[in-house]
């Protein structure tokens, strides 16, 4: 097989891959995320700073002093990447470095990491103190939306 033939075969594959990647990126960039708590949690609303305080370890409890258990999507997931980009404008590696400072200073522990996105509704249902971010189309009747990012 000549070099030209190799290129002729490879080129459509590259174009398709790039197209799919761009579609995925567009889908991710338009994903609408909301922050939710267990339906029985008395908290009805949080502002962005309060969400930031909990997810960045500045406080370990909700503004009403009820203990909070923030839940993260798995590492390297698109939802997690987007959430932190929107919350504090930092990528996941910088978030990990930030949390290593807090963890090894003994000040706070990072959010609980869910095994998968599908696992988050169960974690929320099982724990009144839980707090999580999910795509808005995955909000269930067991969840209560307490914050959504401005469009």
């Amino acid at each position: 097989m000549t070099l030209k033939m190799h290129l002729a075969l490879a080129l459509p594959l590259i174009v398709i891959t790039l197209f799919l990647a761009s579609c995925k990126a567009m889908a991710e960039s338009t994903m609408k995320l909301v922050v939710v708590v267990n339906h029985s949690n008395p908290i009805d609303e949080l502002d962005q700073k309060q969400v930031m305080d909990l997810y960045m370890g500045r406080y370990t409890s909700f503004p009403n002093s009820m203990p909070a258990t923030p839940i993260d999507y798995p590492s390297n997931s698109a939802v997690k990447q987007q959430f932190y980009k929107m919350l504090v404008n930092k990528d996941e590696k910088k978030i990990r470095a930030y949390w290593s400072r807090l963890l090894f200073s003994g000040r706070a522990k990072p959010p609980m990491e869910a095994e998968s996105g599908e696992n988050i509704p169960t974690l929320l249902a099982d724990n009144n103190a839980a707090l999580a971010y999910v795509p808005v189309d995955q909000v269930t009747s067991e969840m209560k939306i307490v914050f959504q990012f401005n469009p």
Binding site: K49, T60, S61, P63, S65, S75, N89, S100, S105, G106
Partner: protein, 429 residues
């Protein structure tokens, strides 16, 4: 840090008690909700280029020459135990290149914490002293940009980096940010050893510090004021040496009492003050700290020290430039033997001259006067992994090289600059 004699080992009852209390909580609290383990490590090769000086990354560490895998390599493990919504405990052990290898020098944290309300937290046990911006996570290389915390700033302050005691922290919202106020009281014990293994121990007793932190958006500020009393200085035959100086009649050596007072830290008050600022908008990373230390003690001369680091993110790569300095408050004053009047017996003359000469060597050997320029790069090449390369060019005055090993150097001659090259890998797990 300079006399030659038999080292004395001191059992630190406070830290043992702290560890036992954490252990007791571990074993007796059947309701412990969660126990989690985590750790960090840096493995780094450090190339030291100097004929007379040997390198160490902290005053507490061993001095090394040539290519060293030990100088900047660290491994640490941490356990977090949650007993209830209000109670938890943290223990952290860090294996690093300590010159005095007693267990006490490897325990960074062992405390129990109580959070009675959202804004309040109290801790008791072994705590980070929390004087400076990196105080509480210095060993975790992955957590900061550089190969190691800036030497001119953090090498000397490491002697008071952990405190056995208690603290109280209050957190509140202010101006779209979060303010943390802290007060700490306790005892910080320093355990050092010189190149020949001779050990030095002393305490920062009745240590009291006040800390103010403010974090808002991309900004972080910190200010600290602390004081302590220097106590329990041990250097084998140090007391006998000071007694000999004090015994010299003022008519023979008028400065003898002043020299002895400057040598002997007993009861001297040490004062720290520091301010720091950090800006990080995921494009620029700028960090600076300035600090002052005063104790009127020859072994840790009064000084001001600081650094400025500027980095610029290129995706996962962060090149940075660092300048730092450690400058004494007072110029070095040589201690000279007195001119003795004729008729003083020769053996008395020799003894006084020996006392003056030894004191002079000690003073020169403890004097720090240096500045550094560093260039480096951090590459976060994979999840939880960072590769770092850093070059340091350190210039010292004469005398002024006490942050390093300098026994073979004529301290009156200005040493040529010390170049240090580091290549290391940092991770968290």
């Amino acid at each position: 840090m300079f006399f030659n004699s038999i080292p004395k080992i001191k059992t630190d009852g406070v830290i043992l008690a702290s560890l036992l209390s954490v252990g007791a909580c571990l074993t007796t609290n059947a309701k412990a909700q969660e126990v989690s383990f985590s750790g960090f490590a840096t493995i780094g090769a450090t190339l030291i280029e100097h004929d007379e000086l040997s390198y160490r990354s902290s005053l507490l560490n061993q001095t090394r020459d040539g290519v060293s895998w030990r100088s900047d390599s660290v491994i640490g493990g941490q356990v977090n135990i949650t007993f209830s919504e209000q109670w938890d405990a943290v223990g952290q052990v860090v294996v690093q290149d300590r010159a005095d290898r007693r267990l006490d020098n490897y325990i960074e944290k062992a405390f129990v914490r109580y959070r009675p309300a959202r804004s309040w937290a109290m801790r008791g046990g072994r705590l980070d002293s929390n004087f400076y911006m990196l105080s509480d996570y210095r060993p975790a290389g992955y957590a900061y940009t550089w190969a190691r915390p800036p030497l001119d700033f953090y090498s000397a302050v490491a002697v008071a980096a952990v405190t056995d005691g208690a603290d109280l922290q209050y957190t509140t919202d202010w101006q779209e940010g979060v303010v943390k106020l802290g007060v700490l009281y306790g005892n910080s014990a320093a355990h050092l050893a010189s190149e020949d293994g001779t050990k030095t121990n002393f305490d920062f007793a009745n240590l009291l510090s006040f800390t103010l932190e403010y974090q808002r958006h991309n900004w972080q500020f910190k200010a600290t004021s602390a004081s302590a009393t220097l106590k329990n200085f041990e250097y084998a035959d140090f007391n006998e040496f000071v007694s000999q100086i004090r015994a010299v009649p003022a008519v023979l050596w008028p400065q003898a009492q002043n020299v002895a007072d400057y040598l002997d830290p007993a009861g001297d008050k040490a004062e720290f003050a520091a301010i720091g600022v950090k800006f990080d908008d995921s494009q620029w990373q700028i960090q600076s700290e300035l600090a002052s230390f005063k104790a009127n003690w020859q072994n840790l001369p009064d000084a001001k020290f600081g650094y400025l680091s500027i980095g610029y993110y290129l995706d996962d790569v962060l090149p940075y430039f660092l300048v730092s300095a450690h400058r004494p408050d007072n110029k070095y004053t040589a201690i000279t033997a007195p001119a003795l009047p004729p008729g003083v017996p020769a053996n008395i003359v020799q003894s006084i001259q020996l006392l003056a000469h030894t004191t002079e060597d000690a003073a020169a050997n403890s004097f720090i006067d240096q500045n550094s320029v560093s260039l480096g790069i951090r590459w976060d090449f994979a999840d939880a992994w960072a590769l770092k390369a850093q070059f340091d060019h350190i210039r010292m005055q004469a005398p002024g090289s006490a942050l390093f090993g300098n026994n073979s150097l004529d301290l009156k001659i200005k040493p040529k600059p010390l170049n240090v090259l580091h290549l290391g890998l940092s991770t968290v797990f």
